[in-house]
Amino acid sequence: MTDEQTQSLLLIVLGATAAWLCWTDAALNYVRPSLVPYVLAGAVILLLLGLLPPLGLLRRRPSGQGNGDDHGHAGSRIGWLLLVPVLVVVLVQPAALGSYAASSRSVVPGGSDGTYLPLAPPVRGAVPMTMAEFVVRALHDRSRSLEGVPVRLIGFVAPGDGAEAYRLTRFVIFCCAADGEALQVIVRGDGTRWRRDQWLEVEGQWLAQPVAAAEDPNPPPPVLAVDVVRPIGQPRQPYESSVDYGR
């Protein structure tokens, strides 16, 4: 029965880890917020499946019967790998994707030529907006709704190309961090040497450029001339998860 106990223990440990990730919001480093309740439900079911035999709800089967014991062993051995994500979570503390991943995942979102909704009203002198909205409007909005508008963006520091000071960066995810794409804005007017991955809240204005040509698949990122730069902690939701890039 040792096998069955091991099985139970592994299911409980995995379920408990997943539940803990959801409970502490650490799960937001991995999946989009709307998925968290489902992860929690899955974790609870894993816990229940693990707890069933110890609680005596599932009576012990006579040994050597049922469940194809010859490959039941193979099953129990592969199941040991369920411990790997638990160990990774414990040993490498949960962290969101950062500037290292940004270098190979940087994208320039496509946009429609259609109409854009009016901007949100300014709060404390600047319009707060997601990185996705800023980048899409800057590159694709023919009515140039960003021109002359002070905006407030949140992102982390990633190194820029050549003479650029740094790029304010934020990941957009659709399901989980594996499909994350990095949105970047080139920052002008801030001489501070921030360390990589420092989270910043910046206020500034878009340095107007012509709208990207529709056939150009890879226009350069938009430029923001900043007035105010405030270092902040990592937001509760490190990723943006607007599925439609704020269109």
Binding site: T2, D3, T6, Q7, L10, A18, Y30, V31, A41, G42, I45, L46, L49, L52, L57, L58, R59, R61, Q65, G66, N67, G68, D70, H71, H73, G75, S76, R77, I78, G79, W80, L81, L82, L83, V84, P85, L87, V90, L91, V92, Q93, P94, A95, A96, G98, Y100, A101, V108, G110, F174, C175, C176, A177, A178, D179, P217, N218, V243, D244, R247
Partner: protein
């Protein structure tokens, strides 16, 4: 971490000795890990490792609810659906059973991780493998959730949604028909041999669920680790070199779908951002992704056996690429 992982690996490859498969070892490993908590993340400034860890845990956590859902359905099939009832439901001839299975798949919004254990249990309950694999390919690829996500990712291009629907449906049916001709019973023996424990339906349900989550979950971890490693090791920009060559571009995006192993509800957004590539090449990415990727190959080799996976993966990759290109060239 390495030593613990190696210990876990060794435990998985060693002969099943009761001394190794011991719950005390689990507890011991956990205590060691908790004692050195944060050691790797904190002291080593190893950004590649941290990125790997984030992607690996993300794939595992994201798949968890879908895996559990699939396991519950597969356990219900094991406990409640008799082989005779299934035989009555499905047409006897492969020519009819395969399209029927494809249609059943379109109605069920599932993720690819959920459909593998379900297809395994269907096979165990006597469903012809050709119909089971058709269901396994159709369920994650052509359901309403995936099609809506595709429509959102490609605004103003409804042909992309239609092309994805047709390409994936065609792939699942062609693979199923080919399998009914070429497939051998010996290749799915592992799935067939999953017996259900005697006793009440509740006992059969729980023991099947435990067994499936344990096994499919273990293989999911293998697949997630492989996908995370490939994601960190192969930069996406490496692909751009072939973007202008039609045939190579299609193959490159097919290969990218295999190694990224992202969920079928998210892949349309990635495809939308691969604007250097033609629409046909991006369609290949969307049709191949839910059908074959490293995570799925790992899970299929666990549920159906290595003999199955080593034949099914290349067959599916070839058929999916061809179907996507045919549909893409005629529609897009």
């Amino acid at each position: 971490m390495r030593s613990e992982r190696e210990a876990a690996r060794q435990a998985t490859t060693a002969e099943p000795r009761p001394g190794i498969l011991n719950p005390r070892l689990v507890v011991l490993l956990l205590i060691i890990a908790l004692g050195s908590r944060g050691l790797l993340g904190g002291s080593l400034d190893h950004v590649a490792l941290r990125t790997w860890a984030t992607v690996f845990v993300a794939i595992t956590v994201q798949s968890l609810p879908f895996l559990v859902l699939g396991v519950l359905v597969s356990a219900a099939i094991a406990a409640l659906v008799s082989p005779a009832a299934l035989a009555r439901l499905l047409p006897r001839r492969a020519l009819l059973a395969v399209p029927a299975a494809a249609l059943a798949g379109t109605a069920l919004p599932g993720c690819e991780c959920a459909s593998v254990p379900v297809a395994g249990r269907l096979t165990a309950r006597g469903v012809p493998p050709a119909a089971a694999v058709t269901f396994m390919l159709a369920a994650p690829a052509v359901n309403p959730v995936v099609l809506i996500a595709t429509a959102v990712a490609f605004p103003g291009q409804p042909r992309m949604v239609l092309a994805r629907f047709l390409g994936s449906l065609l792939t699942s049916i062609v693979v199923g028909l080919l399998w009914s001709r070429l497939g051998r019973e010996a290749w799915v023996e592992r799935a067939r041999s999953r017996l259900v424990s005697d006793g009440s339906p509740w006992q059969a349900f729980t023991s099947a669920a435990r067994h499936d989550v344990y096994e499919a979950g273990g293989w999911l971890v293998v697949g997630a680790a492989a996908a995370a490693t490939l994601q960190v090791a192969v930069p996406r920009s490496a692909l751009l070199a072939v973007a202008d060559h039609p045939a190579l571009a299609a193959l490159a995006l097919g290969a990218l779908a295999v190694l990224l192993a992202i969920c079928s509800e998210a892949d349309a957004f990635i495809a939308a951002s691969l604007r250097e590539f033609s629409l046909s090449a991006r369609l290949v990415f969307l049709v191949v992704g839910p059908a074959v990727d490293v995570k799925l190959v790992a899970m299929q080799s666990g549920v159906f056996g290595r003999q199955f996976a080593s034949r099914f993966a290349p067959l599916t990759f070839a058929v999916a690429t061809a179907c996507a290109l045919v549909v893409g060239w005629s529609l897009l």
